[in-house]
């Protein structure tokens, strides 16, 4: 399916889906720590870097509409070889709806930057996301799987994003009797750059603590 096709599906879902579970206005915060790993392959060779990340996300509901804004920052060090150490900075802003109690559809933009002493390489994605949830222990423990795909993208240095897609899956535990919740998640995404023919794979395991509605 082309990027245009994904865009049509996402916009259609946002515009016309019946809202099964309308929530009142709510606000949620989440702070996370993550271990991330970057693998990059190109005709010039392979790079492997890893490091720890800190980040957070704010979610705002107003009836069925969900707005989320997040930020992540990590320092990546080479696992082997001589790739330059770099900082990973990531930010995203997404808006979406929850047409079913177990289904959430969002779309928006994501910016990722790799900052090295030599310069900063940026990736910009317009993406669509779909997320499904299944209860494991009542509503106390919920597992979720989220997949996303870029609809359009760009890269700095005259390059272009040929395609990007990713996933996020994890376990969300609402601590009974409290507004607190804990999330353990695994994420992975893959970006293909057209000019440099580079493929970047970023994965990580995160542990987050949040408060407020899910």
């Amino acid at each position: 399916m082309t990027s245009r096709g994904w865009a049509v599906i996402a916009c259609g879902t946002l515009a016309t889906s019946p809202v099964a579970a309308q929530r009142p206005r709510a606000l949620a915060f989440e702070g996370m720590g993550a271990s991330v790993r970057l693998r990059s392959t190109s005709p010039l060779g392979r790079e492997a870097l890893s490091g720890s990340a800190l980040g957070g996300e704010v979610r705002l509901w107003r009836r069925a509409v969900i707005l989320s804004v997040g930020y992540l920052q990590a320092t990546l060090k080479p696992d082997s070889g001589s790739p330059a150490e770099r900082n990973l900075v990531e930010g995203w802003a997404l808006i979406g709806v929850r047409p079913k109690g177990w289904l959430e559809v969002r779309g928006g933009g994501q910016v990722r930057a790799y900052v090295t002493p030599a310069g900063t390489a940026r990736r910009m994605y317009w993406e669509a996301r779909a997320r499904g949830e299944v209860p494991l222990v009542g509503r106390t423990a919920v597992a979720y799987v989220e997949l996303w795909r870029s609809l359009a993208g760009s890269a700095s240095g005259g390059d272009a994003v040929q395609g990007a897609q990713g996933g996020d899956s994890g376990l969300l535990v609402q601590i009974p009797g409290t507004p607190w919740r804990v999330r353990l998640a695994y994420r992975i995404d893959r970006t293909q750059l057209r000019t440099a023919r580079r493929v970047e794979t970023l994965e990580g395991v995160s542990l987050a603590v949040g408060i407020g509605g899910r």
Partner: protein, 351 residues
């Protein structure tokens, strides 16, 4: 025709048959004795009136008729010149009814004067006690009314079966009548228990010597009020089930397995050519364990909060009712009444 004649003869014969003589009861004897007195036939009057007062007949005589017989007998004996017999009749009358007064329009002065002499010379009381008295509160009393033939000293006391005095109620003079009260307690203020007691009223002519003693047997009984029955516990059919049967739990296990599998498959879906790290196994394992825990939780019976609350309301309502009954029964158990049953007074003359 023959049948009609037979019937006529039967009627004539039955009407002509002699009637049985009318029975002469004590009341008739009194009436005829009074008529004989009024006809100045004193000997016949005395015979008839004594016949009415004879022990065999006296039992069936009403009190008013007995008093009428005695007063006319006394008057008859006065006119027959038998003063002692007249005094004996009047004394018997006075003892039976100390308040009896002669009608001076009917009887001449020689009769009424002798009656007054006998009355003044007889020191006796009649005792009137209610057949049943219930002493429950501090204001309740056994009321004893004494009617005296003439002014004299009396001593009233409640005694035990062995003759010892439980409580002295009165000791002093009596004129025409006297009312004595007893609160059901002994001289120390302790309430009398169930048992047999006796009310004794001694009339004293002079000094301390009792001339006549009236004894009233008293039966005492402690009566407790009936307690309220304990409320029946609510029937089991009123209670709703408090737990719902647990499910198989396989759904949670399946969902956990699928989600755990999705984590493991995520690198193959998203980045098939990349070499994914083993970190995903930790997340996948956590999800699988959660699914397993969900299996155990779903198999457990689930409490039904609404039913539990409804059942608790039923139990609380029954407990409140039982507590009310308990408090009421405690009050009822404390509320003990002393029931006094007075029997017929018995008078004895001292020699």
């Amino acid at each position: 025709m023959t049948r009609r004649a037979g019937l006529l003869a039967l009627v004539i014969l039955s009407s002509a048959a002699p009637r049985p003589a009318r029975a002469q009861g004590p009341a008739d004897l009194v009436t005829r004795g009074v008529q004989a007195y009024q006809s100045l036939d004193y000997d016949s009057a005395a015979t008839l009136l004594r016949g009415a007062l004879a022990p065999a007949a006296d039992a069936g005589l009403p009190d008013s008729m007995r008093a009428r017989a005695l007063v006319y007998l006394g008057a008859t004996e006065v006119f027959r010149g038998r003063r002692d017999s007249a005094m004996a009749a009047f004394r018997r009358l006075v003892l039976a009814d100390p308040r009896y007064r002669l009608d001076q329009l009917i009887f001449p002065p020689e009769v009424s004067n002798l009656f007054a002499e006998v009355r003044l010379g007889t020191k006796a009381v009649s005792v009137v006690v209610a057949p049943r008295t219930e002493i429950r509160g501090p204001g309740d009393r056994l009321v004893v009314r004494l009617y005296a033939t003439s002014s004299h000293d009396v001593a009233a006391a409640v005694t035990r079966a062995n003759g010892t005095t439980l409580r002295v109620l009165y000791r002093g003079a009596i004129g025409d009548s006297l009312e004595i009260l007893w609160d059901g307690r002994d001289s120390a203020g302790v309430r009398a228990d169930s048992g047999q007691l006796e009310l004794r009223i001694a009339s004293r002519a002079s000094g301390i010597r009792a001339t006549r003693l009236v004894q009233v047997p008293l039966d005492l009984r402690l009566a407790r009020r009936d307690t309220v029955p304990w409320p029946r516990p609510p029937a089991d059919s009123l209670f709703r089930p408090e737990h719902a049967a647990g499910g198989s739990g396989l759904g949670a296990l399946a969902r956990g397995g699928l989600a755990a599998g999705a984590v493991l498959a995520l690198p193959r879906i998203v980045a098939p050519s990349g070499d994914a790290s083993g970190a995903r196994f930790a997340v996948s394992g956590a999800i699988a364990l959660s699914g397993l825990y969900g299996l155990l939780v779903e198999r457990r019976a689930r409490p039904l909060a609404a039913n539990i609350a409804a059942n608790r309301a039923i139990r609380d309502g029954w407990r409140r009712g039982a507590e009310d009954v308990r408090a009421r029964n405690e009050a009822l158990r404390r509320d003990v009444a002393l029931v006094i049953t007075a029997r017929r007074p018995v008078a004895t003359e001292s020699q």
